[in-house]
């Protein structure tokens, strides 16, 4: 690796993390993908189509919005990077547009994907529809139930959704199932991983497809203030919105903060391990069995974290903190009531971190990535807050 958040070497290492721990049956596929991505990413035509699709279709650039009432409340200057306004409602679309274009370039006619909150599944189904590809999405049975809105959206978009009933029936099992099915369909199928995780080149490739968040935010912040922010904050599930954001600021003095859910803090509470094709941090029991993550937000319920985050943590370039479900519910309401933005539970982790660290942040300027909108979560939130009590609910 040449520099922090530069391109990884051929083995896909970020320091000691990353790599390519896949069965031999998948090895040719990830090697092919690596070279296809390297080639495409250095092809101006590919980049141009990727960028044009994000602009014309997905609504990029998303705004960097100075949240005045929240700023006032926190005594700091809060700039929200509005991925909630991207098509399909989260940053996941950035990555998926990139991978779908790449899949098409590689001659694949079909996408498969795992999904937790359903946002990546919806994004995949969306890109598949847009480019005329087939799509099948694996989703833990538990998540199918708690994110039913997104299940319907995927089906409406023409994707097949398979409820995964093995293991803990959440995101990690959906990843397992997607990998299993990929082996049997390598010829025509691209596995569209939804975060900066999995075997090389995924963590790198997904970060590159998401760096548009950070690159835009950097220049938007600069255009607005002539300077760089003191802090850059994003929630971390697999870590793609955080990685994409950090990539834009890693070479500035900004302090980078990834916010994990207390119930799924792979950096905070995990230890080194090798699962899902990568060496990173994972929640594990004393024997190395992977533990389930458990937080209010399906999209952060992943017991691992992208290997580059493990590295950024190891070298001290980024800080990783946790917030709990109650803080997150408070934060959703705070943002809704001060700024009129109902954000995703995932994104609310970043807001909750601001609230917890109010004293430390006083008078500083902070770019926060609001990774998605909260429509998919409103029912969960309403139930937790008791809004549903005694009400008709169709």
């Amino acid at each position: 690796m040449t520099s922090v958040m530069g391109n990884p070497d051929a083995t896909g290492r970020f320091g000691e993390f990353g790599g390519r721990f896949v069965p031999e049956s998948l090895m040719p596929a990830v090697i092919e993908l690596d070279s296809a991505f390297r080639e495409a990413w250095s092809d101006p035509l590919f980049r141009a189509e990727y960028t044009a699709t994000l602009e014309n279709y997905a609504g990029r650039p998303t705004r960097l919005y100075l949240a005045e009432r929240l700023s006032e409340y926190l005594g700091a200057e809060i700039w929200l990077k509005r991925e909630d306004l991207a098509h399909t409602g989260s940053h996941k679309i950035n990555n998926v547009i990139g991978q779908a274009l790449l899949a098409r370039r590689m001659g694949k006619s079909r996408l498969i994907a795992e999904t937790g909150a359903g946002q990546h599944g919806v994004a995949t189904a969306t890109a598949a529809a847009l480019f005329g590809l087939e799509a099948k999405v694996y989703m833990g049975e538990v998540d199918v139930a708690r994110q039913s809105l997104n299940v319907f959206r995927m089906r409406l978009l023409g994707a097949e959704v398979e409820a995964v009933t093995s293991g803990s029936r959440t995101l990690k099992d959906a990843v397992n199932e997607a990998m299993r099915s990929w082996v049997a369909a390598l010829g025509d199928t691209h596995y569209c991983i939804g975060s900066v995780m999995g075997p090389h080149p995924y963590p790198w490739m997904v970060r590159e497809f998401q760096r548009v968040i950070g690159d835009e935010a950097r220049s938007q912040y600069e255009a607005a203030t002539g300077s760089t922010p003191d802090w850059v904050v994003a929630c971390v599930g697999g870590g793609s919105n955080a990685a994409g954001t950090f990539a834009g600021f890693v070479d500035t003095p900004a302090r980078l903060v990834g916010v994990e859910p207390a119930g799924g803090a792979a950096v905070g509470h995990g230890i080194g391990g090798i699962v899902h094709g990568m060496q990173s941090f994972f929640l594990q029991d004393e024997f190395g069995q992977i533990n389930e993550a458990a937080s209010i937000s399906a999209g952060l319920d992943y017991p691992g974290v992208g290997p580059e985050h493990a590295h950024l943590h190891a070298i001290g370039r980024a800080r990783y903190d946790q917030v709990n479900d109650d803080q997150v519910l408070e934060a959703v309401q705070l943002l809704a009531r001060t700024e009129g933005i109902v954000c995703a539970l995932e994104s609310a982790h970043a807001i909750a971190w601001l609230v917890e660290h109010k004293q430390e942040l006083l008078s500083s300027s902070i770019v926060v990535t609001l990774s998605g909108r909260g429509d998919k979560d409103v029912e969960t939130i309403a139930q937790r807050l008791g809004f549903l009590e005694g009400e008709e609910h169709a």
Partner: protein, 257 residues
């Protein structure tokens, strides 16, 4: 010891049968190991259950879940093995994280002390395995390499260059599981790899009965690994004699092929 033993069989003209048993899926699993040996196994592949068996199909997943639910751990499996010795080599199959988590030096030591002769680690490919292989080799633990139907010949040769014990030819582009019909890739990979190695060549994944086993040895393999087809019968609660009959049938088919 694994390689040597299989090479001897091979030279003697015997086809090699390696059944797969999930450690701890049932309290009496060691009897199952004995049973398959009595029924004609030349080595036994023993699975240590892992929470995220991403290369296994429903049968082996289920067996692993049962074992984990019973509180089985890598250490409990190894200590059970330590109490026993077997007349054939023992090959442990599991995912790399369990060894990584123990620390590879300790893992290799524990495996050796438990009498394990070889390991199959499906998610530890050539590129990532150098440290492990070196450590294992230093203690006489043989690391089996897998080649798949989509592995290029150039890469096959690179893999064969570090292969030990036997070569595991992946018979089907799929996770573990039974197949009604033998995949074309199963015979093709046998034919393809055979000229490139003098190591014993076993085909696994998707070998479900005697006919299929016979077909791959006729195509050039030295034998087969049989996993899901056996474990399904175990999970269904078949009696020891039914299970023995199943293994013996494959044994017979191999012997006649």
């Amino acid at each position: 010891m694994l390689e040597k033993s299989l090479q001897q069989l091979r030279k003697s003209g015997r086809r090699i049968l390696v059944p797969y048993v999930m450690a701890g899926s049932d309290p009496d699993w060691l009897s199952l190991v004995d049973l398959v040996i009595e029924s004609g196994a030349d080595a036994v592949e023993i699975g240590i259950p892992f929470s995220d068996p991403s290369m296994d199909g429903p049968v082996i997943q289920r067996a692993g879940e049962l074992a984990l639910a019973r509180g089985v751990t890598p250490f409990s499996v190894l200590s059970e093995l330590r109490t026993r010795s077997f007349s054939v080599p023992i090959v442990v199959m599991t995912y790399y994280n369990l060894f990584h988590h123990m620390g590879i030096e300790r893992a290799v030591t524990e495996l050796r002390q438990a009498g394990v002769d070889g390991v199959i680690i499906p998610d530890l490919p050539l590129e990532e395995g150098a440290n492990w292989r070196a450590m294992a080799k230093s203690q006489g633990l043989e690391t089996v390499q897998l080649v798949s139907p989509v592995t290029s010949l150039e890469r096959v040769d690179e893999i064969l260059a570090v292969a030990e014990g036997f070569v595991y030819g992946v018979g089907s582009m799929s996770v573990t599981g039974e197949r009604a019909e033998l995949a074309e890739t199963a015979t093709a990979i046998a034919t393809r790899i055979r000229p490139r190695t003098t190591l014993p060549l076993l085909i696994g994944i998707g070998i479900s009965n005697g006919d299929q086993a016979a077909a791959v040895v006729e195509a050039g393999a030295d034998g087969v690994v049989v996993g899901s087809a056996l474990l399904r019968r175990v999970l269904e609660g078949q009696t020891p004699s039914e299970l023995s009959y199943f293994v013996s049938e494959i044994r017979a088919a191999l012997d006649e092929a």
